[in-house]
Amino acid sequence: MNARLLTLGAFALFLVLLPLALPNAFYTDVVIRIAINAVLAIALNLLIGYTGQISLGHAGFFGLGAYGSAILTSNYALDAGLSLVLAALVASVIAWLVASAILRLKGHYLAMATLGVGIIVTIVLTNEAAWTGGPDGMPVGDFKLFGWAPSGERQWYWIFMALLIVVIALARNLIDSPAGRALQALHGSEVAARVVGVDTASFKTRVFVLSAAVAAAMGSLSAHYLGFITPGIAAFPHSIELVVMVVVGGMASIWGSVFGAIVMTLLPQALTKFEGWETVVFGLILVATMIFLPRGVVPSIAARFRRKVV
């Protein structure tokens, strides 16, 4: 327990000192993108890692949040904070409607359903140009809260890093709570979990709704930070990217998700040299990880390390 707090503290200290080592706004921006992806991956990992279900449409919830905020603040002049909450609520309701029906089924129907939600959201965002600007995208205003709005990479940096730390801490707490233990039992054996009195479907639904709401809220904030959004942020490839972060980093591992986010944010930059081969390399990394480190990079290394120490 203490060791965990220490790790988190060390990580927070690292994030506080990191700006000293970042030479310019470009690098700050990269770190911010990593943090955004890390939060999304942690939220998705609660679902994949602890319930064994995949969402292939999480980018759809992210897009709902982003466009919800953009439309409510610019077209209806709504308060930015209120817009964020409303957008997250809409995403939660959709997630709940889908999940409460589908998670009662066994098998991988959630994958199909979430895939559908993501694609429908993308198509609506692309076609309803009067609201969303269509395929060309739309600008997003400042994130004005109580008369103040963050501006520049430096101010946003503190906001996103604080969020990341809070989300890591909350996710840890959730996993160690009775509900979290129920979740872990669920992944171990659904039948066994049910036998000891866990309402498995209701747990899975709650986790799914939570992770969709987090994705939507992050979508809102990212939209304000980026200042411009296109339907691509909600599209299927983005959903896949998020899943890849979770599984490469390590299912059911919070630090794994952070690691996955780092790799998947930096990798495209590193791969630009391999013109055209990015997709192939991406796919190879994914397949190789699943074959050789089926539990993901971080848990596999941690397990090996532990074995050597003992």
């Binding site: 995949i54 098998g107 895939l115 559908g116 198509i123 599984v247 081969w277 997709t279 796919g283 397949v287």
Partner: protein
């Protein structure tokens, strides 16, 4: 199929039909004909059944692999795309069409075998979630390889027997559509024979029902998975070649086709062969009707709206067995 619907009455010219993948040429054929009055409804049925047959073949591929392993193979769409691309590239290199088509199917089948041996087999003991993610990785690799080797451009495959539309019941149908329907029917019949009458086919079915029991009675269950991948790839490849003359093909054409095949398989009840065929045809018709009567911009959303409704209201699929208890 659908030929029973007579509406050869004096309908006005069809509303500008959708111009997207799949219906493009059929729509043009309909517009080019100024003399005859066409029945828009029947026209939509023709184009819906044609694209639906392709979805049915894709759905059969999904069901085959799902039955053998419980895995949803997200690389199925890539098999379809590779089939069409290979045939198109070979014919433009001067290979006769029939040979290019056969070679296309054969090569895709080999690709399916390689995928199973290199990516699925080594992870046999992993969880199903991990295997599904492997198939996503495989689809990226295949798509990327085609993009690098054959480029990002569109490729066209000539129609098997000309582009002269055939008039039937006040609508037009492309000869290629007849090819699609004819060959798809043959393939489905051959599969039905394979699973119902041959020892190997029965072995695959037995493995789907109960792997351990199948092993006990002497079925080589490891070979079953490899065989399922080969069959699924070949069927997908054939579908891709059949539809390529109607919809030009490119390296990213497999994504949507594959996802819609998955929708069709889910509609019919994952794992059900009959369900896959009807799911595919139903999906094709539903999509064509949405494009024709509601909005062509939302044509691609239609399958996903439909599958969400079905999953919520009738989770076992339109034709699936009552039990969804299959892990």
């Amino acid at each position: 199929m659908g030929g029973a619907c007579h509406r050869a009455d004096g309908e006005p010219h069809p509303p500008a039909p959708p111009r997207k993948r799949g219906e493009g040429r059929a729509a043009r054929a309909a517009n080019d004909d100024g003399k005859r009055r066409l029945s828009p409804f029947l026209q939509f049925v023709f184009s819906g059944v044609t694209i639906g047959a392709t979805y049915a073949l894709a759905a059969l591929g999904f069901s085959l692999i799902y039955n053998a392993s419980g895995v949803i193979n997200f690389a199925q769409g890539e098999f379809i795309m590779i089939g069409g691309m290979l045939a198109a590239v070979l014919t433009s290199a001067g290979v006769p069409l029939w040979l290019a088509a056969l070679a296309g199917v054969a090569i895709v089948a080999v690709v399916g075998l390689i995928v199973e041996k290199l990516a699925i087999e080594p992870a046999r003991d992993s969880e199903v979630v991990s295997l599904i993610i492997i198939t996503i990785g495989v689809s990226m690799i295949l798509r990327g390889l085609v993009q690098v080797t054959l480029g990002k451009g569109n490729h066209a495959l000539p129609s098997f027997s000309g582009d002269q539309p055939i008039h039937a019941f006040g609508a037009t149908i492309l000869p290629q559509s007849l090819w699609v329907l004819g060959v798809s029917t043959l393939l489905v019949a051959a599969l039905a024979f394979f699973f119902g009458r041959t020892r190997t086919g029965k072995g695959i079915l037995a493995t789907a029902y109960n792997r351990l029991a199948a092993q006990l009675v002497g079925v080589d269950t490891r070979r079953v998975l490899a065989l399922s991948f080969v069959l699924a790839a070949a069927i997908g490849g054939a579908g891709g070649i059949l539809i390529a003359p109607i919809a030009t093909t490119s390296y990213d054409a497999g994504v949507m086709l594959g996802l819609k095949g998955f929708v069709a398989a889910t509609l019919g009840g994952l794992g059900s062969g009959v369900g896959a065929v009807f799911g595919g045809l139903f999906l094709g018709l539903f999509e064509a009707m949405t494009a024709g009567y509601i909005s062509s911009a939302y044509k691609d959303a239609a399958p996903f709206v439909l599958v969400l409704l079905i999953l919520v209201l009738r989770p076992q699929g339109l034709f699936g067995a009552k039990s969804t208890d299959r892990v």
